[in-house]
Amino acid sequence: MRKFKRNDLGGLFSNTVIEAALLLWVIVQMYPIFWLFMSSFKPSNLVRARIFDLPKSFYFANYNFAKFNEEGITILIYLKNSAIVTGVSLVILMITSVLAAYGIAKLKVPGKNILIVILLALIGVPVHALMIPIFYFFVRLDMINSYWSLIFPYVAFNIPFAVVVLQTFFRQFPNELIEAAKIDGCGNLRTFFSVVIPVSLGAIFSVLVVCFLAIWNEFLFSLVMMRNNEVKTLPVGLMGFKGRYIVEWGPMMAALVIAIIPTIVFYIIFNRSLLKGISAGAIKG
C-alpha cells in the first residue's frame, strides 16, 4: 500500500480537536464489542446488575457449552457445521471460479462477452429472492438438512463476484509466459497449474478471504435449509438465544464471542488481502 503521509491536517480544525473527536467515536465503535467480551466472563446476574463493571475474576462457566446441550443449544456442533459448510463451499467455489476466470480471460470460449455481461448482472441479483425454488429443489431431492443444500447455493452465489474479479486479474497475466510454457511442451492444464496458478495466488487469496466471510456469516439460506438442530450453522444456532434465556445473559454473550472469534482472528491475520479483495470487484487494480 502507498504511504498515506501526504498531507497535514492543517486548516481542517486543529489536529487535537479532530483526534479527540475521532478517539471518542472509536470508543463508541469499540465499546459494544468490548462489552460483549467483558460480559461473557461475568455471571449472568452481574452482567445486568453491574453492567459497566469489569469482571472481578474470569468466570468461565459461561463457556461451558455442554450445559446447554440438553436445552437444545449445541454451540460446538454449530461451530463444526459452519466449518464444514464453509470449508467445502470454498474449495468447490475456488476450483470452479479460477478455472472459469482463466477460461474467459485466456482461452477460446464461444460467447464469452455475453457470459461476462451475465456474470456482472448476476452479482446484483438478491439471491434470497430465490430461496423458494431452491428450497423445493432440495425438498424434491430429499436433501433438506443436508450440508449440500447449503454448499451448492453458496458456491453458485459467490461465483459471479469471484469470476469477475479473477478474470480481470488473469487478463493482465503476460501472454509471453503462457506461450513460453506451451513451447516447452506444456498443455493448457499443465500451463495453468504450473505457470499461472503460482503467480496468481495473491489475487486468488483476496477473493477467497472475501468469500469466506460471506459464507461463514450467511444466515437466511441456512435458516431455511437447516431444520434439524444437528446440522444448523452458527448464525442459525445463535437464534436459539433469541427470546429464551432472557435471564441468562452470560452464556449468550459467551456464545456470541465464540461466533465472532473466528472472523476476528481471520481478519487480524488476513487484513490486507481482505481490504484488497473487498474493493477489487468495483475498482480496478
Partner: protein, 297 residues
C-alpha cells in the same frame, strides 16, 4: 471449415468454464425462471400448482397494505443507511488518507465490525437496546431517565435503532472503497492546490469529492442492491415489528413463504426484487463503462 486444432481449443475453453456455468444455471438462472412462473400460480407447498394469472400481482398492488409498508420501509432504510454509512466511511477515509496519527489502527478498528456475523451483532445490539440494557443504564448514569425507552419496542425508535447499527457496522466497508479510490488520485494535484493556498478542507471538497465520483456512484449502486437484500438485521432484531414498523421486502417474502406457505404470492415479491436489482445493475454496467474495463477493451 474449422480445423481440428481450433475445435480442440474451443473444447478446452468450454471445459474450463462449464462447471461454473452449471452452478449458475442450476442455482440462479433456473430459480429466477421458476420464481417468475410460480408468481402466476397459487401453491401452498403440496399438490399441483393452480394457475391464477395476474391475481397475485393484482392482490399485492391493490389490497396488501403490508406490501406498501414494507416497500416504503425498504426504501427508507436503504436511503438513510446509505447516507449515514457513506458519510462516516468518507470521513474515516479522508482522515486516514491524510495520515492522521495511528491511521493503521483506525483503519483496522473501523473495518472490524464488517467482518462480524450480522446475526451475532444483531443479538448483541438487542441486549444493548433492551429495557435494562446498556443504553438505558447509561442514560440513568447521566440522570437522563426521562429519555429511557424500550427502544426496539417503540415504533418511533425501532427503525432508527436498526439504522444506527447499520451505520456502526458498515461505515468501514465504505471506507475501504473510498481509500482505494483516493490512492488512485495523483498526489501532485494536492501539491499544486496546496501551493495555490487551498486549505485542507477546501482540497477535500474541490479535489477529493469530485475525483471520487466513480466511487460514490458504485457505492450508491451497491447500497441500492444491498437494500433489497436486507433481512438478517431486521429478522433478528425486531422480526419486522413493532406493528410492522420495520417490515421490509426481505422479511415479507420469508413470512409469505415459510410462515404461511403462500409460495405463489411470495414469488411476486421475488420477481419484483430480482427485476429491480437487474435494472439497477444493467443501468450501472451501461453507464459506467465497467464492462469495457472488465473486458479489457
Amino acid at each position: 471449415m474449422r480445423s481440428e486444432k481450433e475445435i480442440r481449443e474451443y473444447l478446452t475453453g468450454i471445459a474450463f468454464v462449464l462447471p461454473a456455468i452449471i452452478f449458475l444455471i442450476l442455482f440462479i438462472a433456473y430459480p429466477i425462471i421458476q420464481s417468475l412462473a410460480l408468481s402466476f400460480f397459487k401453491w401452498r407447498g403440496v399438490g399441483p400448482w393452480k394457475f391464477v394469472g395476474f391475481y397475485n400481482y393484482i392482490r399485492m398492488f391493490t389490497r396488501d397494505r403490508y406490501f406498501f409498508r414494507a416497500l416504503k420501509n425498504t426504501i427508507l432504510f436503504t436511503i438513510l443507511m446509505m447516507s449515514g454509512e457513506m458519510t462516516l466511511g468518507f470521513i474515516y477515509a479522508v482522515l486516514i488518507d491524510l495520515g492522521i496519527r495511528g491511521w493503521k489502527a483506525y483503519r483496522f478498528i473501523f473495518f472490524l465490525p464488517v467482518t462480524l456475523s450480522q446475526v451475532a451483532i444483531s443479538l448483541l445490539w438487542v441486549k444493548i437496546f433492551q429495557q435494562e440494557g446498556l443504553v438505558n443504564v447509561f442514560l440513568g448514569v447521566l440522570h437522563l431517565e426521562q429519555f429511557q425507552q424500550i427502544w426496539l419496542g417503540d415504533a418511533k425508535f425501532a427503525m432508527w435503532c436498526l439504522i444506527f447499527v447499520a451505520w456502526w457496522q458498515w461505515g468501514g466497508w465504505h471506507m475501504v472503497f473510498f481509500l482505494a479510490g483516493m490512492q488512485a488520485i495523483d498526489p501532485q494535484i494536492y501539491e499544486q492546490a496546496k501551493i495555490d493556498g487551498a486549505s485542507t478542507l477546501r482540497r477535500v471538497f474541490s479535489i477529493t469529492i469530485p475525483l471520487l465520483k466513480n466511487v460514490w456512484f458504485i457505492l450508491v449502486v451497491l447500497c441500492l442492491i444491498n437494500g433489497f437484500k436486507m433481512f438478517d438485521l431486521v429478522y433478528v432484531m425486531t422480526t419486522g415489528g413493532p406493528a410492522s414498523a420495520t417490515e421490509v421486502l426481505g422479511t415479507q417474502i420469508y413470512q409469505h413463504a415459510f410462515d404461511v406457505h403462500k409460495y405463489g404470492y411470495a414469488s411476486v415479491l421475488a420477481v419484483i426484487m430480482v427485476t429491480a436489482s437487474l435494472i439497477i445493475t444493467i443501468f450501472y454496467v451501461r453507464v459506467s463503462g465497467y464492462r469495457q474495463e472488465v473486458l479489457g477493451e
